[in-house]
């Protein structure tokens, strides 16, 4: 197969710009063949932590290295970024919309997110697609599609890879005959989708040649809603090379920074500050066993998402959620036992993984749950919500502990199992088997699967033509 020219589209940009662009810079381009010339990581920009970009970037990098891709163009929402940024064979194209349109777009995005994750059952948003806010969502998608179309006129891409529900309409709006892949990153359960949403959702999904989901159950549910769709289940992935084994000194230093004493035991939750991540459930479970295990501390790592950041949509839900969690901790008089670590650099996060006894994925619903894979990579057992994509890879008691997020006592009970006397053997077994399982979510596996997918859709397009 000849190397492909790929156009990727995500909402969250690979690189977030930390300062407003200087006058005139918004319309300019950064870089040259060697990268972000003249800009400093951590000062002028940073790579988006976690989420879709954390997964997609290593794959694109690998496919470029292996010659599967000739070049990649990445279109994303980035109101603070310049128009284009060159990064070797990758070019980032930044989309911006007027501030007054952002709130409408944000409302629709949050409503879809909330509905799919069943956050607010009292507000089903049945008429969402008729709302004024939806016209702004369509506006953002159309702006993005128009940019991609103009790039395609110039660069003649081989294939388009659109990521996540925020960009769902882009495929239909592109109107190209070239192959289009859509990756649905969040959970998919057709039973929670309002009747009034289904026709438009199906119309948008039908515009793609292949729809990729993260778990078998999502694929089955999607097939029920859209029998015409070609659906593929591919597990999300991490690059093990991105994770380091920090020194004991460094682990001690990071622990000390957050008030974790050498004798403390740590239960770790990694996830952005969002109600869907279920930190409240972890706090409740922790408070119910805190008396039994006085050395136990709960560490919550994570900040707001790109949507919540000033360089993104500026939605403030993460700050509200954190305040709510802090209030919960205060009410339970656990201020000295619960640590809000905020966003950590990867090296510090690695230290926290190494320092912890086990990790918890307490999400109400979770598209997949790569933090469990990260936990396994560091040789730590994970307690995993049943309502996650990764749960289908877990055999309870063998490579992880599962729990029902609606069962108030279930999480506490699983935490107890990993802390009580004689729990060492269980922890060791879960960690050992978990590490074996994690290989299904490594970049190597994804490289093969995604490479095959790209080859199939492009070849199919050639054959059909």
């Amino acid at each position: 197969m000849a190397p492909l020219s790929l156009c990727i589209n995500t909402q969250t940009p690979l690189i977030q710009f930390l300062n407003p662009p200087e006058a005139g810079l918004r319309d300019s381009s950064y870089g040259g063949p060697t990268g972000l010339l003249g800009l400093r990581e951590g000062v002028d920009y940073r790579f988006s932590p976690g989420g879709v970009t954390r997964m997609v970037y290593p794959l694109v990098r690998r496919l470029l290295e292996k010659g599967v891709l000739e070049e990649a163009h990445w279109v994303a929402f980035n109101p603070r970024g310049p128009r284009t940024v060159r990064m070797g064979k990758m070019t980032l194209h930044n989309v911006s919309i007027e501030t007054e349109r952002m709130s409408g777009y944000g409302k629709v995005k949050e409503a879809i997110w909330g509905r799919i994750h069943e956050i607010d059952a009292a507000e089903p948003h049945n008429d969402l697609f008729w709302s004024e806010a939806f016209s702004e969502y369509a506006y953002y998608n159309r702006i993005t599609a128009e940019l991609i179309r103009s790039l395609d006129d110039e660069l003649d891409f081989d294939v388009f890879y659109v990521h996540d529900f925020q960009q769902l309409a882009v495929g239909q709006m592109l109107g190209t005959l070239k192959p289009k892949i859509f990756r649905w990153h969040i959970p998919f359960d057709a039973t929670v989708i309002p009747e009034q949403w289904r026709a438009l959702l199906k119309a948008y999904l039908d515009s793609y040649d292949v729809i990729v989901v993260s778990a078998r159950k999502y694929a089955a549910s999607l097939a029920g809603l859209d029998p015409d769709a070609k659906i593929l289940r591919l597990y999300p992935y991490v690059d093990p090379g991105d994770y380091s084994r920090p020194s004991q000194e460094r682990i001690a230093a990071v622990s000390e920074r957050f008030g974790i004493a050498p004798q403390d035991e740590v239960a770790l939750v990694v996830g952005r500050m969002d109600p869907i991540k279920g930190q409240d459930r972890a706090i409740k479970a922790f408070s119910s066993i805190a008396g039994e295990f006085p050395a136990l501390k709960l560490v919550l790592v994570g900040n707001g998402s790109f949507s919540g950041s000033k360089s993104g949509l500026g939605l403030s839900k993460s700050a509200v959620w954190r305040a709510h969690l802090e209030e919960m901790v205060k009410t339970a008089a656990l201020e000295n036992r619960v640590v809000f670590a905020g966003h950590l650099l990867q090296e510090d996060l690695d230290c926290m993984y190494e320092r912890c006894k086990f990790t918890i994925l307490p999400s109400v619903r979770e598209g997949f749950g790569l933090v469990a894979v990260e936990s396994w990579l560091h040789g730590k057992p994970a307690i995993i919500t049943q309502r996650s994509g990764i749960a289908e890879l877990v055999r309870d008691g063998m490579n992880g502990l599962l729990y029902d997020p609606d069962d108030a006592g279930a999480l506490a009970s699983q935490m107890r199992a990993l802390l009580g006397p004689g729990s060492g053997r269980l922890r060791a077994r879960l960690a050992r088997n978990g590490r074996t399982t994690s290989k299904k979510c490594f970049l190597d596996a994804a490289e093969k699967a995604e490479g095959k997918l790209l080859a199939e859709v492009t070849e199919a397009a050639v054959t059909e033509a």
Binding site: F129, A138, E146, R149
Partner: protein, 252 residues
């Protein structure tokens, strides 16, 4: 010796012709505006055609009068135009009638590519509508080519499920119109009609073709009740025209 009166006599016909042309331009603009107001509830395609026709008629009359002012006999000119018209009509009758039918069927015939229709005893899925013919694919995988004129002259049955719900409106946007803003405004405007439309099917705007000069789009709205078809179509067209005018006024 050349006097002022000689010069005036010499340039008078040209001045008259110039004045007539200026008046014609103004009149054409007024006529276009008046027709636009009169047909604002028709489809934007039809309204555009009516306006263009009005402008052409005014331009022809104005042009003839201007030439007459310059001393050219209008009789000969009209005769040449008439003969040219008749020749074109006779020579290209079949394609022109198909092309014309396609134009009208685009606007008034309730089927689109993808629908299954029955016409002149043939049944098949519409896979192409070109300027001359509509191509059906039968269940036996035969290609059936129906001249577009038949779509206007004969009975066409759209057999697709829920076909009665669909109102399909072609839209032609100038290349310099801001498409995202146009779509956003159109959605806001059409949302006001949601009580008359099927709530499960929000409006869908599809790009059919695109050049630097224009973008051809198709708007599909779905009715809630069949008896509302006429009223809703008129209202959608009216709103569409308003948004189009607004978009033309605010080009990129």
């Amino acid at each position: 010796m050349i006097t002022a009166s000689t010069v005036l006599k010499l340039i008078a016909p040209y001045l008259s012709a110039l004045v007539i042309i200026l008046i014609t331009v103004i009149l054409a603009w007024v006529v276009s505006l008046v027709i636009g107001r009169l047909v604002r509830q028709s489809s934007p395609q039809m309204a555009g055609a009516a306006r263009r026709l009005g402008v052409v008629v005014v331009a022809l009359i104005g042009g003839t009068l201007a030439l007459q002012a310059l001393g050219v006999s209008p009789g000969i000119l009209l005769l040449v135009i008439a003969l040219l018209g008749v020749t074109i009509l006779v020579a290209l009758w079949a394609p022109l009638s198909n092309y014309g039918s396609k134009y009208f069927s685009d606007i008034y015939t309730p089927f689109k590519v993808g629908d299954t229709i029955k016409v002149q005893g043939y049944t098949g899925k519409v896979i192409e509508i070109n300027p001359m013919t509509t191509i059906l694919l039968s269940d036996e995988e035969q290609l059936i080519s129906i001249p577009n004129v038949a779509m206007i002259r004969d009975v066409v049955v759209n057999m697709s499920p829920q076909a009665w719900k669909e109102v399909v409106i072609p839209i032609s946007l100038a290349g310099n119109v801001d498409l995202p803003a146009f779509e956003s405004d159109l959605r806001k405007s059409l949302a006001k009609l949601r009580l008359r439309l099927d709530r499960r099917f929000p409006p869908v705007l599809t790009t059919k073709s695109r050049t630097a000069q224009s973008t051809e789009l198709t708007l599909i709205v779905m009715l809630r009740r069949p008896e509302d078809r006429d009223a809703v179509t008129l209202e959608v067209n009216k709103r569409l025209t308003e948004v189009l005018e607004q978009a033309r006024g605010a080009k990129r």
